[in-house]
Amino acid sequence: MSCSPFDLRDYYFKELAENERRQTEIHVKTCAHCREELDRLRGTEAALLTLPDQEIPQRIGFISDPVFEPSPMSRWWAAFWGSAARLGFASAAMLSIALIVFSFTRPVPQVSAPAPASNAALQAEVTKRVNEAVQKAVAESDARHAHQVAELLAATEKRNTLEREALLVRVQEYLDVEKKRMDRVILASNDYGEQR
């Protein structure tokens, strides 16, 4: 088992990140066990590399024959389907065209005949409810107004009565005063006549 801070085999195959590689390198310099492990790996790799590459027995090549070559149209078609961007653009364009065509050629809805009747009924119902609500509101307003007028009239009548009574009292007092004054005048006249 290796005592290296990181996998010694990853280090050997240069698959460690730079900082990991540096730490492992420092460790290997001071660890004989890890150096031996690296030597074993090197030995195994060297043994494997004694198996040389073989020459290919027959070169591979294709001939440019117009008979087998795709036509420009086929090539364009293959390129078209091979490109996601072009395919996406074409799909979007077709969808747009379909929407435009549909908007111009949209058929008249077949089930539109009953719609006016139901609309009229709905409108009548709405009008009825609105009228009812208006009538109710007007009635409430009238009642409220009549009540206010009645209260006002009652208050006015009461005030008038009180004023009339007060006026009558004052007239009575005036008449009393005038009567007393007349009495005194009569008495004084009588006294003057007797004296003559």
Binding site: L41, T50, F62, G82
Partner: protein, 187 residues
Amino acid sequence: MIFRAVEDADLIRKARRGDVEAYNLLISRWERRVYNYLLRLVAHREDALDLSQDVFLKAYQNLRKLEDPARFGPWLYRIAHNEAYSLFRKRRPAGETEELQPETMEGEATVGGNAVFPIEMTLAVSAALGKLNADQRETVVLKIYQGFKFEEIAEIVEAPVSTVKSRLYTALDLLKAELAPVKRGVS
């Protein structure tokens, strides 16, 4: 490396427009690598050649589906992987481990007629690779012989990176044990 990648991308663009010669040039750059990957996987030269031809034909037919030309290598190996595993399925019922009896290849340990490696070692390596299961062998081939990064291998074999690592390290342990006696004998 970057210059090479740009050139490949240019050839791919030309091939997409129907330039067969550009595609043939692209094939010439990759055919040896793909052939050797398939040969080490199926351990049969004719099968490997047939599969290589199928791989390049399918790649040509599907070149327009390759979104990033810079990823041509892993994409091509993905096709090769699929072709090899289709062959495995034809050879054996699903679920059984594909163990190989590698062909004895004359001149295997020679380059240009000169002996480079001890013949015992190359034979032992062939035999040891044949004892791995197909997944382990493929991972060793992609990492050791083809030099792919773990992420690229994961893309080719359509498996998580952790699975790829596990297959490789298990395979290396097995190979180390298989080859240890030979290494001692050679040295």
